[in-house]
Subunit: 135 residues, 2 copies
DNA sequence: AAGTAAATGCAACCGTGTTGCATTTAATTT
DNA sequence: AAATTAAATGCAACACGGTTGCATTTACTT
């Protein structure tokens, strides 16, 4: 399936900006911030970029994560998340040298025992350290 | 040890704003956002509040955490963190009903196996769900 | 090729957080 | 207890991330 077909499948129009964003996220197994993407596509309007990312997230195509510094980042959903309520069952790794955020799809979040009365609906595990390229 | 003594021990002056903030964080086992504290102490200048929180964090008296929505929150460090490099070895719980953030000091973050080349320096586990007061 | 709903681009705005600087105040010294 | 001084405060002004409204354009439909 082409990128354009993937976008249309979700009920969205395959516009140039959307193709650019999806291609970037698909080709690099990393979570990008809005600022990084804005720098990557200088000709793209920043508001449009915000809306493209919001639409992709609502369509369940990407997921949003916060890195250690509280910066919002986006990464493609691998295992076709159920729209908008995608359960992110994998671990994220934030390199403190290059600041890249990796989705470690193969590492699932371990279960934790909570005190009585706390009912969990989702777990977010964010590991920081030095990545394989910087260590 | 009094609150004022605790503050002076860290090389900071025991001022009214600092006493207010430390008292709030000490008495309630929750992580408060800047906005919540601003609302709690209407007479306190917001810039002063930012600086008090920054100073407390640098002194290792409180630790900073991001909640699900990317809001910065502060909680007292229980086990006397080594200044500024405090290892947060406990789990945080973010209630999606009342939006309170709990430090579950008794629940330590489970270890995870990372792919070769990734060297971890810290783990952050954030669980969201419904807390004991809202469930 | 024309029609239409969706997507874009721009202006203007809000919230969070920071910096510089003059003033005040907590702790120290006499 | 008064004077000293370095630290803390309060204010203005700013930078940045993100949102909303509206007119224009464009992708898909017929």
């Amino acid at each position: 399936m082409t990128l354009a077909e993937h976008i249309r499948e979700k009920g969205l129009k395959a516009t140039p900006v959307r193709l650019l964003v999806l291609e970037l996220l698909q080709n690099n197994q990393q979570a990008y911030s809005h600022t990084e993407m804005e720098a990557a596509f200088t000709e793209v309007d920043r508001i449009t970029l915000y809306r493209v990312l919001r639409d992709f997230e609502e369509a369940g195509m990407v997921h949003k994560i916060m890195d250690i510094e509280g910066i919002t980042r986006f990464a493609v959903c691998k295992h076709s998340c159920p729209d908008s309520t995608h359960s992110e069952d994998h671990v994220h790794f934030n390199c403190q040298v290059c600041h890249k955020m990796y989705c470690l799809e193969m590492v699932t979040t371990p279960a934790v025992k909570l005190p009585a009365g706390f009912r969990p609906t989702g777990i977010n595990t964010l590991i920081h350290g030095v990545c394989k390229h910087c260590g």
